[in-house]
C-alpha cells in the first residue's frame, strides 16, 4: 500500500498509509483466485465473506462490496487499518504460499473509505429501537459492536463510558497517524444513528454498580471495559520523572492532544532520547509518537529477537523506515535518575535465546556480566495491559480468573451472573480490535436469546456464526 515519505511523515500526525486508488484496488482484486473453499475466511474472527467482497471490487461494484463487508464487520474502516492481517486472513491466503498474499486488509480499507466518501449514510433512517433495555459498559470496539448489533435487533441500548470521549483504545491508544480519529467518529456516529445512547463520564462500579443498573431497568449487561491497567517491570527507577506507561503517554498525546501543546492544555515531556520497552503494537505506537514529538533518537528495547516481535508487520516496517532503532536481546535492569529525579539513562543486560517454554517460544536468558548503559532521558514501558479491577472489584459474585480477567463463555460471553455478559480485552487479556468485535457480536446474539427466554447454547440459531468459529 502506498505510504507517505518516511522523512516527511515522522514529523506529523497525518496518516502514514495512504490507501489504494480505484485502479490499484481493482488490480489487487484481480489477483484473488476466488477459491472454492476460501482459507482466508477461516482466519477472520468475524468471518467476513472475503472472496465475495473482493469479487465485487473486481467488478467495480463498490457499494455491493461495502454491503458484503458490513454484513459481518461493523467497523471495516478500522479493521482494514489495524487488524494483524498477516496472522489472520492474509496469513492463510493460498497465493501467500509463494508470493505476496492478496492485500485483503488494504482492500477492506479501500472499500470502507470509498463508501464513506460516496454514500451518504446519514440519509438512511433507522427504525427507533423499542425493545428491552440493555446496558453496555465501555465504548471500545467490543462495546460498540455489541451495542450496534443489539440496536439493529430492536433493543434499547445505552453505552456507559468512563472517559469523556468514545472509542476506547481506538481513541486514546492508537495514534492519529495510524487510525485517524475522524474514522472513529464516523463509526461511533453510525452506532448512534442506530438509536444507541452513549453516556460519557460514567465510571461503572463507582457511579452505578451493575446490580443497580439491573434494578433500574436494564435487563442485560455487556461488560467490555478493556484491559486498562498498565504493566510496569518492577525494576528500580520506574517512578522517576520521564518514565511513562505507554497508556499514560498515548492518552496524553492521543486523547488529550498533548501533541498540540500550543492549543491544548495537557502537557507531555519532550525528550531527546527515548527508550521504549517491548515490541508489540503499543510499543511501536509509543515509539513513533515520541519521534513525532521531536525526539532525536528513539530505541525499541526488546528481550527477544525480531522474529518474536508481536507487533503487526506493517508497523515494524514503518517504524524502521522512520528511523526507530532496535536494541534486541536486551533487557532493562534499572532506570537511572539525576539529582532532580529525572531519567538520565537505563542499565540493561544482554540476553540470548535459551530453551523453549510451554508455548514453544525460546526463552530469553541473561548473559552474565553483559550489563551496559543506554543513554536516554525518557523511558516508556510498553509491556501490555492487565485487567483493571475497578469494575470487577465492585461487582460481588462475578467470577474472575487468577489474573483478574472475567470468566465468560467463549461462544456466548455469558458470565456466572445471569444476564451479565462480557467480552474483549477484559476477558481474553490485551488482544486485538477484531477479537473484541467478534466477542461483542457473539454476545449480542446471546443476549437476544437470553432476553427471549431461549437457551444460550442453541448454536445453530446463532445467526450464521458456526460454533467452531466463535472461539477464535
Amino acid at each position: 500500500m502506498p505510504a507517505r515519505e518516511p522523512k516527511q511523515r515522522s514529523h506529523t500526525f497525518e496518516e502514514v498509509a495512504l490507501g489504494f486508488g480505484v485502479d490499484q484496488a481493482i488490480e489487487e482484486a484481480n489477483r484473488c483466485l476466488s477459491c472454492k473453499k476460501p482459507k482466508c475466511v477461516d482466519g477472520c474472527p468475524v468471518m467476513v465473506d472475503i472472496p465475495n467482497f473482493i469479487e465485487a471490487v473486481r467488478n467495480g461494484n463498490l457499494s455491493d462490496a461495502a454491503h458484503i463487508l458490513k454484513e459481518k464487520n461493523s467497523l471495516p474502516a478500522v479493521c482494514g487499518r489495524v487488524c494483524p492481517q498477516e496472522n489472520q486472513c492474509e496469513g492463510l491466503c493460498i497465493i501467500g504460499k509463494k508470493h505476496e498474499p492478496v492485500a485483503i486488509g488494504a482492500l477492506e480499507r479501500f472499500v470502507a473509505d470509498w463508501e464513506a466518501a460516496h454514500i451518504d449514510g446519514s440519509s438512511v433512517v433507522h427504525p427507533k429501537p423499542f425493545g428491552k433495555k440493555v446496558a453496555v459498559i465501555g465504548c471500545g470496539p467490543g462495546g460498540l459492536t455489541c451495542a450496534g448489533d443489539l440496536a439493529k435487533m430492536g433493543y434499547r441500548v445505552t453505552i456507559f463510558e468512563a472517559f469523556h470521549d468514545t472509542g476506547g483504545v481506538l481513541r486514546y491508544g492508537i495514534p492519529e497517524f495510524r487510525l485517524p480519529k475522524e474514522i472513529v467518529d464516523r463509526e461511533v456516529n453510525y452506532v448512534k444513528s442506530l438509536g444507541v445512547e452513549i453516556e460519557l463520564n460514567m465510571v461503572i462500579g463507582k457511579i452505578h454498580t451493575i446490580a443497580e443498573l439491573m434494578e433500574s431497568g436494564f435487563e442485560a449487561v455487556f461488560i467490555a471495559v478493556g484491559a486498562g491497567a498498565p504493566v510496569f517491570m518492577g525494576i528500580p527507577g520506574e517512578n522517576l520523572i520521564g518514565v511513562y506507561s505507554a497508556n499514560e503517554f498515548l492518552t496524553r498525546v492521543n486523547l488529550m492532544k498533548a501533541y498540540c501543546m500550543e492549543e491544548y492544555d495537557t502537557p507531555v515531556i519532550t525528550a531527546r532520547k527515548v527508550a521504549v520497552i517491548g515490541a508489540g503494537n503499543v510499543a511501536m505506537d509509543a515509539a513513533r509518537v515520541a519521534l513525532r514529538l521531536g525526539a532525536d533518537e528513539v530505541t525499541i528495547v526488546y528481550r527477544r529477537t525480531e522474529a518474536e516481535m508481536p507487533a503487526r508487520l506493517e508497523e515494524i516496517h514503518h517504524a524502521k523506515e522512520e528511523g526507530i532503532q532496535f536494541q534486541l536481546l536486551t533487557n532493562p535492569k534499572q532506570i537511572l535518575g539525576d539529582d532532580k529525579n529525572r531519567v538520565c539513562g537505563m542499565e540493561c543486560i544482554r540476553m540470548e535465546l535459551g530453551d523453549r517454554d510451554e508455548g514453544g517460544r525460546r526463552r530469553p536468558v541473561p548473559i552474565e556480566d553483559s550489563e551496559f548503559k543506554i543513554d536516554c532521558d525518557m523511558v516508556i514501558p510498553a509491556l501490555g495491559n492487565k485487567a483493571n479491577p475497578l469494575l470487577t472489584r465492585n461487582t460481588p459474585g462475578l467470577e474472575l480468573n487468577k489474573w483478574g480477567n472475567i470468566i465468560a463463555d467463549e461462544k456466548t460471553g455469558a458470565t456466572n451472573i445471569p444476564g451479565v455478559f462480557a467480552g474483549g480485552d477484559i476477558v481474553i487479556g490485551a488482544a486485538t480490535v477484531i477479537e473484541a468485535m467478534g466477542a461483542g457480536k457473539r454476545a449480542a446474539f446471546a443476549i437476544d436469546r437470553y432476553l427471549r427466554g431461549a437457551s444460550l447454547d442453541a448454536e445453530e440459531e446463532l445467526s450464521g456464526l458456526p460454533a467452531e468459529k466463535q472461539g477464535a
Binding site: F13, K206, P230, C260, Y264, D265, P389
Partner: protein, 289 residues
C-alpha cells in the same frame, strides 16, 4: 447538565462552587474526588468533593486558582456549566466507629477536602480536635464550618497574622506535649505540611493518614501516572487512595513528581492570558485539527 448553582469567593483566588450532580451526590463518600474539564481543549483536573447533599443533588468543590484550568473555571459564573464531571472516584474512607480522639490538621486549601471526613467522624461520635493552618489570615476560610463539627478548634498562621503564630504541625506537637492523646491524626494540605505532621506523629507513635495529590489523567487506574510510593510499594493514588498511611509515604518523590510539568503549566497559563488579549496559537504538527 452540570450546572454551577452557586459560586462564592472564599478568599482571593479560592472559590467555592455548589454544582448540580445528583448521581455523584448520591454516591459521594468522605475521601472521594471528581475529575473536571472546563474546556474542549482543557485538562482533566482532580478536585476533592468538599461536601455533598444527596437531598439537593449537589456537590461542593473548592478551587484554588493556580493553573490555566482553575483560572478558567474561575471565570464561570452561576448558571454556567462544567464541560465534564466524572466521579465519585477514589476509595471511600470509613469514619472510626466512635469513642476515639481524632486530630484533623489542615494546611491551606486542605481544610476543604478535610471537611467531609471531619463531619463523618464527628457524627460517628468521636472526639474531634481540628487544627487549621494557613500562610496568613487572608487565606483562612471555613473556620465556622469546622468549629461546628469539632470539640476543639485551633487556628494557626505562619506569619502570626491570626490565631497562633506557628505551623499547624507545631500546634499538633504542642497539644501532644501538653497531654492530648490522639488515637489517629488525619493531615491534608501541601506536601511539606503533610510531611511535617507525619514526622510529629511518627515521633509519638500516633497513626497518621494523609491525602495525596499527584498529577492524574484518567482517575481510574488506567495510566499509572498518579503512582506514589508507600512503604516501598507502588500504588495508584486514584484507585488505591488518595489516602495512605503517612508513615510510609515517600514525600520527596511525590513533590518531585508534582513538579513534572511546572514550566509547561506556566506556559499554558501565559498562553491563556495572551489569548484573552486576542493572540492566536495554532498547532504545528497537525494544522488541520
Amino acid at each position: 447538565m452540570i450546572r454551577i448553582l452557586t459560586k462564592k469567593t472564599l478568599v482571593p483566588k479560592i472559590k467555592e462552587y455548589v454544582v448540580e450532580a445528583p448521581l455523584i451526590a448520591r454516591k459521594a463518600r468522605p475521601g472521594n474526588f471528581v475529575l473536571v474539564r472546563v474546556d474542549p481543549k482543557g485538562e482533566r483536573i482532580p478536585l476533592t468533593i468538599a461536601d455533598s447533599d444527596n437531598g439537593q443533588g449537589t456537590i461542593t468543590l473548592v478551587v484554588q486558582e493556580i493553573g490555566k484550568t482553575t483560572t478558567m473555571m474561575g471565570t464561570l459564573e452561576e448558571g454556567a456549566e462544567l464541560l465534564d464531571l466524572v466521579g465519585p472516584l477514589g476509595k471511600d474512607r470509613e469514619a472510626p466507629p466512635g469513642g476515639q480522639v481524632i486530630g484533623f490538621v489542615s494546611g491551606g486549601l486542605g481544610v476543604a477536602p478535610m471537611y467531609p471526613q471531619t463531619k463523618a467522624c464527628y457524627q460517628a461520635g468521636n472526639r474531634v480536635i481540628s487544627i487549621l493552618g494557613a500562610r496568613n489570615k487572608d487565606l483562612l476560610f471555613w473556620m465556622d464550618r469546622i468549629e461546628a463539627i469539632s470539640h476543639e478548634t485551633y487556628i494557626a498562621t505562619d506569619d502570626g497574622s491570626f490565631g497562633i503564630h506557628a505551623y499547624a504541625a507545631q500546634v499538633l506537637e504542642d497539644l501532644i506535649q501538653k497531654g492530648t492523646r490522639f488515637d489517629e491524626v488525619i493531615s491534608i494540605g501541601p506536601v511539606p505540611h503533610m510531611k511535617a505532621c507525619t514526622n510529629v506523629c511518627k515521633k509519638h507513635g500516633i497513626p497518621v493518614v494523609v491525602s495525596l495529590n499527584p498529577i492524574m489523567v484518567d482517575g481510574t487506574g488506567m495510566c499509572g501516572g498518579c503512582r506514589v510510593t508507600v512503604h516501598g510499594q507502588t500504588y495508584y493514588a486514584c484507585v488505591d487512595g488518595p489516602e495512605f498511611d503517612g508513615s510510609g509515604v515517600d514525600f520527596d518523590e511525590l513533590s518531585a513528581r508534582q513538579r513534572t510539568y511546572l514550566s509547561f503549566e506556566a506556559d499554558s497559563l501565559l498562553h491563556y492570558q495572551e489569548e484573552m488579549e486576542g493572540k492566536k496559537h495554532q498547532c504545528a504538527l497537525n494544522p488541520a485539527k
